[in-house]
Structures are given as structure tokens and as C-alpha cells.
Point group: C2
Chain length 206, copies 2
């Protein structure tokens, strides 16, 4: 499965890179995650310039689309040219958003009637956008997931891996990246966060 | 305080970007973290091309130097031209290494008589290099710290922030980046990991 990690100018490095690094640890044939951007180079909220690995049109082809967060997400939401390219289909794709990425899913109509997680800074804007904000790190309804708090990125990636490659693969990767000496506790907490949302086995047969 | 996040070809995105993103959340005047590399562009273990923010010579000037990890760290350890530029001074700098970064600190003679943390893949090489490897996520002796397991990066960054800007600043940043709904538990675990190593108050007066 190919994953698009949507990354815009002003992006939060934690959100895009935790997700991409974890998904890229899936060694099954055909699995890869790509930093996916509207421009050839994007600049992070801390001035780090990163070359895109895929153009934004890749979002429509990918099997997994995770929307990163950043300090300019509200600009993205107001950019019709960008939204136009994000032809996402929750019937066919696993779709997730980290922190302010929820605003983009909302603008695309993907959170209608679906409560969502986001970060504490984004929360007022999410409420303003009509999103029902949950006080928890992760939530999913079917193929649409949201996570709140930068380090909850590993829950979002874990969910996508579990849904696409099975729970055992997700557990192995989460265990590997966890701090030494705390791996079992880290994994248990992660699976407690995402486990309740792994019910649909459809995409797990790969 | 200025932080150099040493980042080499083949780098692990988690290790460099969790550290840099957290340190860049310190809003005190003069604080910043920079992706610091031997070449103008470095390519991650997953093919992400990133422009450096500082050249390697910045490592000698920085107040904090954190060595990232990656799949080519042993090549770096064998590169005399790179090691030559890493004129680190634990008497003046806070120095840390994430995962395989411990091999670089060892090559620089900074782990003589100092046990260290690293990841499970690096451990055999670390033992071969004469490092006493600990089964814990974080350890520090004076101004030299090591962390093991990708997500332990937030402990390493938290330690550097606490040592340089005080414990309250580190706690505020770790709390902010933690998953929503788990912030207190996350912070408590992080401070349990790094708290025992925050004894030296000298650098906390800033």
C-alpha cells in the first residue's frame, strides 16, 4: 500500500515525519510512505526545507492519506486550488489527520457527523468549523481517523499499518520505535488507543 | 542557547526531527535548533531530501549538540574528515546522542567510562565499540546524555531543554506535544526518565 503524507508549508516536523517513518518500516512489498506536497520544496514551521517525494495529485492515487499539521493549515483550507486536488475517497482509502489536519478533512466534508481529535491550539478553530472535538488522542470511524497531540502521530500511523497490514505488523513496528526499557508499556498504551478502532478487517487481508 | 542536531545521510527522521522540533518550541531569546549536516543536502533512510540549516562546523559553536541516528552511522564513525570537525567539549556544551549516535560519541572519546543507551539494532555494534549498554531509555553523566529507541528522542530533547532552560520549560513543552487525554501520564513518564539526571543546576540559570 502506498501512503501519501500530506505536508504543507509551515508544517510541523513531528506530524509528517513520525507518520512517514513508521509506515516506511513496513517491509511488505508495495508498502511505502511519501512526503506529498503542493510545491517541489516545503518549509517547516522551524525553517527546515524538505523536497517533496510526491506531488499533491498523488493523494488521489494513494491507498493511505495522512494529513499532517502545521502553522498554516488555515491557509490551506482557504486555498481552493489545493483542496480541488485532494480527491479523497474513504470508500477506497484509509484517511487520517494529525492535529490541525482535521481542519482539512472537515473542509473536504469528511468529518460530517464524525467527531474528531485535534490539538489544544487547533481546538477552537475546529469547533468554529463545526467539528465535534474529542478529549482523547485518537478516534476513527470506518476509514477516517484523527489524532490529537503531536506525539499521537504514532497512533495514527499504527492505525493505518494495522488496518492495511494487520495488527501484528503494527505491533512489531510500534514496539521497535518505542523507548528501550519501556517497549511493552508503550505498545500496550498505543494498542489501547487504536485497538477499539481496528474492527473493520476488510483492508487487513493484504 | 543554540542547538546543533547532527544529521547525516541515511538519517532516521524520528531521531533528528523530534529533537529539533521540541527544542525549537523554547521561545526564550536566543534558543534555536538547527539541522546540522556535512553536506548542503542530506537524504534520510527513507529517501527524504532535507537541506541543512547549519554546516558541521556549527557543532563546535553550539551550546547543545545532539547526534541523530541513521543507517549509515558506522560510515560516519569511519570518516576521519567528519570526526575531525566535531570538536565537542562537554565542559562547555550539553552533548547527547540518539540510538546509533552513541557510536559517534564513543568514537570521539566522550563515552569513556560512561555507560550509554542505544537501540536494539545498534546494541551489538555498541558493545563491540566498548560501550557499556544500558537497558533503559535515557541516561546522562554530567553534560553527556544518550537515549535508546526512536521515540525516546523526546527524553533527550527534554533533558537538553531542562538543563538549559529549566525543568518547568521542559515540562511545558513535553506536556504540549503529548497526546491529548494522556498528557499528564506522558509528562510523568518523561520526567521519571530524565529527572534523575537533572541534578546539575549550573546551566539552568538562563
Amino acid at each position: 500500500m502506498r501512503a501519501a503524507i500530506l505536508t504543507f508549508d509551515g508544517f510541523n516536523e513531528l506530524d509528517s515525519f513520525i507518520a512517514s517513518a513508521l509506515i516506511n518500516r513496513v517491509t511488505r512489498p508495495g508498502w511505502s510512505a511519501a512526503i506529498t506536497c503542493p510545491t517541489p520544496v516545503v518549509t517547516s514551521m522551524n525553517g527546515v526545507r524538505v523536497e517533496r517525494q510526491q506531488p499533491l495529485s498523488f493523494a488521489a492515487e494513494a491507498d493511505i492519506v495522512l494529513v499532517g499539521s502545521g502553522v498554516k493549515t488555515r491557509d490551506v483550507v482557504g486555498d481552493a486550488a489545493i483542496l480541488e486536488q485532494l480527491r479523497l475517497d474513504p470508500g477506497r482509502q484509509l484517511i487520517g489527520a494529525q492535529c490541525s489536519g482535521a481542519l482539512i478533512l472537515s473542509a473536504l466534508g469528511l468529518l460530517d457527523g464524525v467527531p474528531a481529535c485535534t490539538d489544544t491550539v487547533t481546538k477552537p478553530w475546529a469547533v468554529e468549523a463545526g467539528i465535534t472535538v474529542l478529549e482523547q488522542p485518537f478516534h476513527a470511524v470506518g476509514n477516517v481517523a484523527t489524532a490529537g497531540g503531536c506525539l499521537a502521530s504514532h497512533y495514527l500511523a499504527g492505525w493505518a499499518i494495522a488496518r492495511g497490514a494487520g495488527r501484528a505488523e503494527a505491533e512489531a513496528i510500534l514496539h521497535y520505535v518505542a523507548p528501550v526499557g519501556e517497549k511493552d508499556a508503550y505498545l500496550a498504551r498505543a494498542m489501547a488507543a487504536i485497538g477499539p478502532y481496528l474492527g473493520a478487517p476488510a483492508a487487513s487481508a493484504a
